[in-house]
């Protein structure tokens, strides 16, 4: 019976730790881009990309960069990182495989 209490307690602790983990930067890329007041908007980035032939599912901020999920003009379904001030392309990857990294 003692063991079952220990197991239940450790399961509860683990579950709480797992579920309460805060939204964190994924660490795939980070940008030192200064205060957000100096950033270009995500709408502008998306508009630029669409003009270049991208299809966009979603975008957000991750690690101080803009992160975009979508399809490249070449037809690759990717997640891509852009600098929020210069909107320069920094990293493009597909399910963990890097397709482009800014040299």
């Amino acid at each position: 019976m003692k063991y079952s209490v220990i197991a239940a307690a450790s399961a509860a602790v683990l579950a709480t730790a797992g579920l309460s983990a805060p939204a964190f930067a994924t660490g795939k890329m980070s940008c030192e881009a200064g205060p957000q007041s100096g950033w270009k908007t995500r709408a502008e980035l998306e508009a630029n990309l669409v003009e270049q032939g991208w299809k966009i599912k979603k975008s957000k901020v991750d690690g101080g960069c803009y992160e975009v999920y979508g399809t490249t003009p070449e037809g690759d379904r990717v997640e891509a990182y852009f600098h929020p001030v210069s909107l320069e392309k920094l990293l493009v990857s597909r399910r963990g495989k890097v397709l482009f990294r800014k040299p």
């Binding site: 730790a17 983990a21 979603k58 399809t71 690759d76 597909r94």
Partner: protein
């Protein structure tokens, strides 16, 4: 008179509770999260990409609950609540498959075309998911009494594929998702229970051998 009335109320309450504890009600409960997800997608509140995580998580969650049953019965023996789980194992297993299929449907909707699906097929985080779901197909097809009768002892052997499916699911989750917290919160309790089950079975076996040896000594 009053007593009769009270016992009648009691009976009604009991039969209501029995109904609430029935398999059809469990089916409805287990499908509710999925119905909300499909509805959310339908009315445009949420995109397919954002439904990949919740559908996959519910699939893994129900598979893990189904898998709890055997360690529970080895560790705690023949108790009413263990029996409760045993009676519902198939329901949880089929629900896991259902959410796995929903997961695949939203994946296909999200990817939009065959070409990008094939392009990423061999990414470690992707093929593990395909393999896990593929293993689930024969398990789901044979999750009925007729198959149990027809396959006899082979049924149990076939259903043991679920352990491979579980390992593939864990690998898929760890590889595809940013952060390991969610996957571990689900799989560590299962791993602990399985470990405990193995220890108990190992001990029982040792005890039996020891007894056997004692008996043989003249």
């Amino acid at each position: 008179m009053l007593d009769q009335h009270a016992s009648k109320t009691h009976d009604t309450a009991m039969s209501f509770l029995r109904k609430l504890n029935s398999l059809p009600v469990l089916w409805i409960l287990l499908s509710l999260p999925g119905l909300f997800m499909v509805r959310g997608y339908w009315v445009g509140d949420i995109i397919a990409m954002d439904l990949l995580h919740p559908t996959g998580e519910f699939s893994a969650r129900f598979m893990i609950i189904a898998l709890f049953t055997t360690p529970f019965s080895v560790i705690f023996g023949n108790r009413p609540w263990v029996g409760w789980f045993l009676k519902r194992r198939r329901t949880f297993g089929l629900a896991a498959f259902g959410y796995g299929v929903l997961h695949l449907v939203f994946y296909i909707i999200d990817m939009e075309a065959l070409k990008p699906i094939l392009a990423e097929f061999w990414a470690p985080g992707i093929w593990t998911g395909w393999a896990a779901l593929l293993l689930f197909v024969p398990l789901a097809i044979t999750s009925n009494d007729a198959s149990m009768r027809r396959l006899k002892r082979g049924w149990k052997r076939l259903q043991r594929l679920v352990y491979f499916a579980a390992l593939l699911t864990l690998a898929h989750w760890l590889l595809i998702h940013d952060g390991v917290g969610g996957a571990l919160a689900h799989f560590v309790p299962l791993a602990l229970l399985e470990l405990w089950r193995i220890i108990i079975i190992y001990r029982q076996r040792n005890n039996k051998t020891a007894q056997h040896e004692t008996l043989q000594t003249p």
